[in-house]
């Protein structure tokens, strides 16, 4: 048990070093938020925009300035996309190496603990920096809940990215699948200006970014905690994590615990 924890900690440290050696990834970490938020700052206006936020029993209509809505929304999309990309690299690139590790005696649960543990730390760092960045321009009503929203969208989209990376060995296909989902869901359908006027909300509510973006909007512009969104986020995160576990178990089956047959 102690040896497994020590190996998990070693995998976590190595994952951090791998990230620091991934120059493209590091550049994206600064470039994507810089470009997207820069464009928002350059283009969005101060006029109020009507948006709706969905609580357990009621719908709250708010009218924050367009620039504030855009900053909060674009930040959530960017956090989702970046975490999907990083999780994908963690669970797809060099996966054969970790398969071989399992063959040599590494327990799959130790691998998951180290790799997913590092991803959660990365998502937390992403959420904290996103919240701090957003707070420079938008007066967040509940900063800690907004941070939770950014963390949860990072974890949900990151797990989705890890699943995409586990399903296909083709990095480009996996990146495209993650980017497409993030683009359609987090960057388009969950845009409050779009969904507030949408005729059919049913589909939009069943997408993974719905609850985290609702959590972020309610925390940014309202005083109440959105428990419905929190529960929805937890369900999505746990469901996707269970799916990832199942996929990894399937991919690593037969490698550990060899016995005479």
């Amino acid at each position: 048990m102690r040896a497994d924890l020590s190996i998990a900690a070693r995998i976590l440290r190595l994952s951090l070093r791998e990230l620091l050696r991934n120059r493209v990834g590091l550049a994206l970490l600064f470039l994507i938020p810089g470009i997207f938020l820069g464009i928002v700052r350059l283009t969005a206006g101060a006029l109020p925009v009507p948006i709706e936020v969905y609580f357990q029993n009621d719908v709250v209509r708010l009218t924050p300035p367009q620039v504030d809505v855009s900053i909060v929304f674009v930040s959530a999309s960017v956090a989702g996309f970046l975490s999907a990309y990083f999780a994908l690299t963690l669970f797809q690139q060099d996966f054969d190496y970790w398969r071989h590790g399992v063959f040599m005696g590494l327990r799959p649960v130790t691998l998951l603990l180290g790799r997913f543990g590092f991803f959660v730390l990365l998502a937390a760092a992403l959420a904290v920096s996103t919240t701090l960045l957003v707070a420079q321009w938008v007066s967040l009503k509940q900063a800690m809940i907004a941070l939770s929203g950014y963390l949860l969208i990072s974890i949900i989209y990151g797990t989705a990215g890890a699943i995409a990376g586990s399903v296909t060995r083709d990095f480009l296909v996996a990146v495209l699948a993650s980017a497409l989902l993030a683009d359609i869901d987090a960057a388009w359908l969950q845009n409050p200006v779009y969904y507030t006027a949408a005729e059919r909300m049913d589909l939009i509510r069943w997408l993974p970014a719905y609850y985290p973006t609702q959590l972020v909007f309610s925390a940014a512009f309202d005083d109440r905690v959105n428990w419905l969104a929190l529960r929805g986020c937890a369900a999505w995160a746990l469901g996707l994590f269970a799916l990832l576990l199942g996929l990894l178990h399937f991919k690593l089956r037969g490698l550990s615990g060899r016995s005479h047959r």
């Binding site: 190996i7 037969g254 047959r261």
Partner: protein, 205 residues
């Protein structure tokens, strides 16, 4: 006096759809033996290896192997973004969960295969021959009793080739069994036996 059997493959059959790749494959490898398994491209060597290692389930048949196993695959599986030293440290820590990994043995392997100068190099920046050496050394860090190698000498220069054979001799002398999978067995006298995979069956010689 008979030696303990470290690898026992009995009547293994494997097919993919209608294509039968292995048909009634059987052989044993005993302690202290160095055996080559040769065959033409596409003869089923890799499929047989996958069945031996448990990566692929045979349709019928049985495989029994010593659990103190080392495996050097042909694939370039190493993580390109780790240094050689980080890789060896992790591999040793993983192997140490189950087996005894002696620091002196690991150091001697690194010295003998002239990897000391590459310990801080990223695996992605290694030459093909050095990459192969790292792969091979990884498979013997725990001094396995049974070693399965798939084309282990690819990219070795002559000095390394000799070093490789000297190490194989050492392992063999200590009672290990070695099965080497290769297209062509050069220097046949280096092997105790040569098995040929032809038309899905294993033939002696």
């Amino acid at each position: 006096m008979s030696h303990p059997v470290y690898l026992d493959c009995q009547s293994v059959r494997k097919s993919y759809g209608r294509k039968v790749v292995l048909e009634d494959c059987g052989f044993v490898v005993e302690s202290g033996e160095v055996v080559a398994l040769v065959g033409a491209n596409g003869s089923g060597k890799t499929t047989l290896l996958r069945c031996l290692l448990g990566f692929s389930r045979p349709d019928t048949g049985q495989v029994r192997l010593n659990q103190h196993l080392g495996y050097c695959p042909q694939d370039n599986y190493l993580d390109r973004r780790l240094t050689v030293s980080e890789h060896f440290d992790l591999a040793a820590a993983i192997l140490q969960r189950t087996w005894d990994v002696s620091a002196a043995w690991c150091t001697s392997l690194i010295e003998r295969f002239q990897l000391g100068a590459h310990l801080l190099t990223l695996i992605g920046n290694l030459s093909a021959g050095t990459y192969q050496k790292v792969k091979f050394v990884t498979s013997v860090l725990h001094r396995p009793e049974l070693l399965l190698c798939d084309e282990p000498c690819d990219g070795f220069d002559w000095a390394m080739y000799e070093m490789y054979w000297s190490l194989i001799g050492e392992l063999r002398a200590s009672g290990a069994a070695i099965l080497m999978i290769t297209h062509i067995a050069y220097e046949r006298d280096r092997f105790g036996r040569i098995l040929t995979l032809r038309e899905g069956r294993v033939h002696e010689g």
